[in-house]
Assembly symmetry: C2
Amino acid sequence: MRQAVLAATVDLLAAEGLAGATVAAVARAAGVHETSVYRRWKTRENLIHEALTSRLDATLPIPDTGDVREDLSRFFGALADLLSGPYGPALLRLSVERDDTLDDRRRPYWTERLSRAAVMVRRGVDRGELAAATDPDLVIEAVSGPLFARVLLSDTPVDMPVVHRLIALALDGARPRPEDPGTR
Amino acid sequence: MRQAVLAATVDLLAAEGLAGATVAAVARAAGVHETSVYRRWKTRENLIHEALTSRLDATLPIPDTGDVREDLSRFFGALADLLSGPYGPALLRLSVERDDTLDDRRRPYWTERLSRAAVMVRRGVDRGELAAATDPDLVIEAVSGPLFARVLLSDTPVDMPVVHRLIALALDGARPRPEDPGTR
């Protein structure tokens, strides 16, 4: 029952936004009793938060290939697929949308989930691929932030080429590197 | 009259959102006749677009100090001030907000204005401070994107420390640099 209800919640959120994702509508779509939904999740807010979180965790596994550039490419490639797919923009917009019927636990959930990705950068530091003083969360922000901004603000493409260019900039930097002139 | 109307439009947009920025309300706030507003701007959409654009251009001058790191620090410091001030979040949210009474010309206006900032990076390339293959727009996105995401998605601080760390990451990269180990 849990999976059916969470899936129905994400479908309704993506199709109709927050307003459409009422407990009644979710229960109807999942074919369960409204009371069973309330028994399990207590509040609509808990239901929406768990639905979004579980969807994002399932869609964005954290790779561990032993190479930080490869790990970041796979992770942010999956994020780009999500953001350019049918669900992504709607789910992202949900975190920006104001709704007095929900508190702010919903808003930082994208960034909360992404903070899990910092472990890929930490491993790169431990392997000596990245500088010891690297801020793992900042590297994740420097790649994810532009992808979010493209979806929310500019409608420019969110695809593998831009993912690779953002990762290269975050790892190599725009200043010349003697060992590989003209990086990017 | 133009400045008074544009200022009244920005005030209403920031205070009440798109819904509050009707031509009637703007005319009332600016103390002009509604017909004079229509005579000059033709449509509410033109008025809102010009109000946002002129405000952003006035708030974000493009510095030219001869040092790319300093130019970027001043520019993005001003952007951080705007985004953490009373107007910023509301004006940024406007570009995400859906409104069937306006077309999408309004959405990319932040990124359109920021693309003006790419000239600071181009000058850095011309001076040899940055690699010849540097993508100026990508560097601007790598710093502005995380700032936008912080305001829209995570409610984390948008201040000079994070601006400096994002610029350092975009210019130096997370990979170790022999000449200055432990950058960032």
